[in-house]
Symmetry: C2
Subunit: 204 residues, 2 copies
DNA sequence: TTTATTGGATAGTGACACTCCCCATTATTG
DNA sequence: CAATAATGGGGAGTGTCACTATCCAATAAA
């Protein structure tokens, strides 16, 4: 198909497709002459993926590029899956405060989670908990944190239980799934809050 | 304290504080003369809240303003808490597709969640699920969705179990807590995935 | 009295994700 | 075969966002 057709199929403006081509987010079509190229289903799929990651997943195009690159270079076994997946989504490490990193590390260890020593997600968790406490939210008794971690464990279990055998497909599912379903979880949380609140505070 | 002191206390540049004042995110200080005003702890707290919501919570300043306005006008009972809290965080409703809204509604109803008929979060959920399925993620057997909802319920329970009696404090905790802990949950999810993956795919 | 700081206002910055326009070349259509 | 349309390539422009810089006259502090 030609670019206008690709635009039609995906609902993305031709100018934007050209932009994606220029930026290397979309692989070039097959040239049929100096001013013409053909695109196929792989292009349409890629465009839909770009839009899903950036719109629904809220990723910047720079991050989308990272994810795409990672997906193009899948691991050889599912054992290396998470490494590859999380490389793709790795946070750019900010100014990690050692004190809070240590706090997060201790929590993770106490949970019995086997996490690499230099895992940047631990720094990130430290920063995030710092922000939460700084904003005056009480986590003192640790109960909510433990409840969240329990919930995270069951979610992770569900995430991994349906992973396909093929490493490339597995990678795609984990990466894209995680990005796109984080917002779903946030929404479910709010809905569940509403439901609980209705029964809990009915009397007031 | 004067503005430079406020800047020092919060780590936010004077120019930025002036910007927040202009934008109405920060309430004016007490004028002591035509070119001087005094700020107090309430200003420092507000500034920290703005930074927490926008940096850690990823909210735009427009959204921060909404949240702040809502916090300044707390409900009278905890029964109206969630309404007020979620008004503050209400998504701007996009182009809701009725088909997907219905799908989301059906899921919510089947769960036995009591959610208002016109709740925009249901539209949002529909859109998000649409995006997930469009991206080729398989939810067909419904298992992951059910697992997420279970997790969301326990999280919501933890969220609401520690809510203070005072409506203003309760509102603050629910709103700020939700905004700031969504990213924490996402991080915990990734860490839990890593832990699970280590044991699950060890042999490969 | 000199120097620094303040509130107030206007304008400028850099990142981001497009969007517009131009051109010389093909393709397509009548 | 001629007129019209579409294409690839590329530069420049747009609008939004969250600041940041600069200027000013008016205090405040040393």
């Amino acid at each position: 198909m030609r670019i206008s057709q690709l635009s039609h199929e995906t609902g993305v403006a031709v100018a934007t497709l050209k932009f994606y081509l220029r930026e290397g987010l979309l692989h070039p079509g097959q040239q049929t002459s100096r001013t013409q190229a053909m695109y196929d289903e792989s292009h349409a799929e890629r465009v839909r993926l770009i839009r899903a990651l950036s719109e629904a997943g809220g990723l910047s195009l720079a991050r989308v590029r990272q994810v795409l690159d990672a997906l193009d270079d899948p691991p050889t076994s599912r054992h290396h899956l998470l490494g590859a997946a999380q490389d793709a989504l790795r946070p750019e490490d900010a100014h990690a405060d050692p004190e809070w990193t240590a706090f997060a590390r201790e929590f993770v260890d106490q949970r019995g989670w086997q996490i690499r020593d230099d895992e940047p997600l631990v720094d990130l968790l430290g920063e995030q908990l710092h922000a939460v406490l700084d904003a005056g939210i009480n986590l003192a008794d640790g109960a909510p944190l433990a409840a969240w971690a329990d919930a995270a464990e069951s979610i992770a279990e569900a995430d991994l239980s349906t992973v396909p055998d093929d490493p490339a497909a597995a990678l795609r599912q984990v990466v894209v799934g995680t990005v796109l379903t984080d917002p779903v979880l946030a929404t479910l949380r709010r809905l569940a809050q509403q439901h609980r609140s209705a029964t809990l505070f009915e009397s007031e």
